[in-house]
């Protein structure tokens, strides 16, 4: 009797647990469906809604040399920013692994705090620093390096600088965590076997930390492709990116099908990188860095 009772209560409990799990998951799911999946679905329908035929918008974007150049420029910009970030992030991540105590905390906060600060505020700070009468130009003129102010704003230089500044932490953290996993005994073994420091680095340390380098690089690349605020504020007319082109289609030229198609091409590029990088990339860690 007791046995059967326990069994029935057991089964009701599991079915109640299933309902409970569904109840916990459903609100977020409904929200994402209604504010993310359905809007993107509508955007996809829009991209196929050109009067000239379903694929006409995509054909126009790919066929036009002007639009193609914007996409190529965006990719070149994203790739250069990624290379700069990876090169600068590696020694920084390495320094993080070597610091202890107070200085480690200081260094960590240098990487962590920028994550929290508004991209808009950071970009505005750069505009104030780089402008003709800004402190950097004053310093350069005061120290006699130049006699007239240098144009550092609204050109390639300011776009690269601003984007590298925002994206560097995304490269530093994956590299740092892959460096933490390196077994120091391997380095000692390499040196014990007579390898020079450079050889140990190139043959042991670099290969072991390569997953972190690739993950960091992939994060930066896929975020850089969709950048909007920094290039819009810091760039000149020649620094048109795909995101700015989409904005232009929506707000200036009012051509929704082109805007929708351009965003799906951009998304295709991002997903392509994600697929290539999926081996060593965990999306949770992109969010978990903060």
């Amino acid at each position: 009797m007791v046995h059967t009772l326990r069994q029935t209560s057991g089964t009701t409990l599991t079915s109640r647990e299933n309902w409970g799990t569904l109840f916990l998951i459903l609100p977020a799911l409904v929200f994402i469906a209604s504010w993310f999946l359905i809007p993107l679905g509508q955007l996809f329908a829009l991209s196929l809604s050109s009067e000239a035929g379903p694929l006409a918008s995509y054909a126009e974007l790919i066929g036009s040399s002007v639009f193609r150049r914007v996409f190529v420029n965006t990719m070149v910009l994203a790739c250069i920013v990624t290379i700069i970030c990876v090169v600068l992030a590696y020694p920084t991540a390495y320094l993080l692994t070597k610091l202890r105590g107070f200085w480690f905390s200081v260094a960590l906060y240098c990487v962590l705090v920028p994550f929290w600060i508004s991209v808009l505020v950071r970009t505005f700070s750069w505009m104030l620093l780089l402008e003709r009468n800004g402190p950097i130009n004053s310093f350069l003129m005061y120290s006699g390096i130049t006699t007239s102010p240098i144009n550092m704003l609204f050109n390639n230089f300011s776009v690269y600088l601003g984007m590298v500044h925002v994206l560097l932490p995304y490269a530093i953290f994956p590299m740092y965590s892959s460096m933490l996993r390196v077994d120091n005994r391997l380095l000692q073994a390499s040196e014990g076997l007579g390898a020079r420091g450079t050889t140990t680095f190139l043959r042991v340390y670099l290969p072991l930390t390569m997953p972190g380098v690739l993950a960091g690089g992939a994060f930066v690349l896929l975020l850089a492709l969709g950048f909007y605020i920094t290039p819009t504020l810091l760039g000149g007319l020649q620094n048109l990116t795909a995101a700015m082109l989409i904005d232009n289609f929506v707000n200036e030229r009012l051509v929704w099908p082109l805007a929708a198609a351009a965003s799906f091409i951009l998304l295709g590029l991002v997903l392509g990188i994600l697929a290539l990088a999926s081996k060593f990339l965990s999306l949770g860690s992109l969010v978990g860095m903060r």
């Binding site: 993310f36 009468n133 994600l274």
Partner: protein
């Protein structure tokens, strides 16, 4: 090549990069404290007159209030919904968990401009364009992943036998959550909530597209101003955002430190 020399150079590069990351952020602070009507770093004389001007301007003040409203709604909404699904994810199979996590993280990967125009298009159909609620829902999409991840990390540290013990002693699902789960995930919850608030408070791109005239937020107002000219009032607005973010950041770090002393610096 001398490897210790290479090491020294790499340490110097690293230190310079760290300084490069942190220091330029604060350029808006001296700019906002200028006594003159133009931006100069460092200012020739200091005053708070641009903060007075900020708070005397109905446009700036209402945009700040809008930002606070939107961020509060987005924060509360994502904390509730995000905690629910984070707990739900511990109760499903590995495949379902992976699929759902991927879906939750997707808004971080999809370019913000694309999400913005999609929500812009839909919000006009359903009458949420230019409303606080519309903005809060748009921002929630970007805040939710941070809540789920932060709470999820805390949940994984929770000993499942405690949950079984509580349930075995006859506690209901809600009682187990309130007395066992909730106290254990408090640090993750606070971190997620703070980051959700900041993410919404700072959000620019979605806001530019859907705030309209009715729900202009502080970053949108700032964005419009910066594109025209650099003024000390804009610098004051930026500094207000900066100070608010730093306060929340410090609060979260202290809470994490109290939850796990000595581990405050964990990433």
């Amino acid at each position: 090549m001398n490897s210790s020399l290479v090491k020294t150079i790499s340490h110097i590069v690293g230190a310079l990069v760290l300084a490069f990351l942190l220091l330029p952020i604060f350029a808006v602070v001296p700019a906002s404290l200028s006594d003159q009507s133009f931006v100069k770093i460092p200012p020739e004389s200091y005053s708070f007159r641009w903060y007075e001007a900020f708070f005397a301007d109905a446009g700036w003040v209402s945009s700040m209030l809008n930002s606070i409203k939107v961020a509060t709604i987005a924060c509360i909404f994502t904390v509730i919904v995000g905690t629910m699904i984070a707990v739900g994810l511990t109760r499903v199979g590995a495949t379902t968990r992976m699929l759902l996590t991927g879906l939750l993280m997707a808004p971080i990967i999809v370019p913000a401009i694309m999400i913005s125009i999609a929500i812009y298009y839909v919000s006009r159909q359903v009458g949420l364009y230019g409303t606080v609620l519309g903005l809060a829902l748009g921002h929630s999409l970007l805040c939710l992943p941070f809540v789920v991840i932060n709470v999820g990390v805390s949940l994984r540290r929770l000993d499942p036998s405690l949950l079984r013990a509580a349930a075995g002693l006859g506690a209901s699902g809600w009682q187990v959550f309130r007395t066992v789960t909730l106290p254990a995930i408090k640090p993750g919850l606070a971190g997620g909530a703070a980051f959700a608030f900041v993410t919404s408070f700072d959000e620019v791109i979605v806001s530019i597209f859907i705030s309209g005239y009715g729900a202009k937020t502080l970053p949108v107002k700032l964005w419009e101003q910066i594109r025209v000219e650099f003024t000390p009032v804009s610098a004051a607005g930026s500094t207000i955002i900066l100070v608010l973010t730093v306060i929340l950041f410090v609060a979260v770090q202290m809470l994490r430190f109290r939850a796990a002393p000595g581990k405050e610096a964990q990433v």
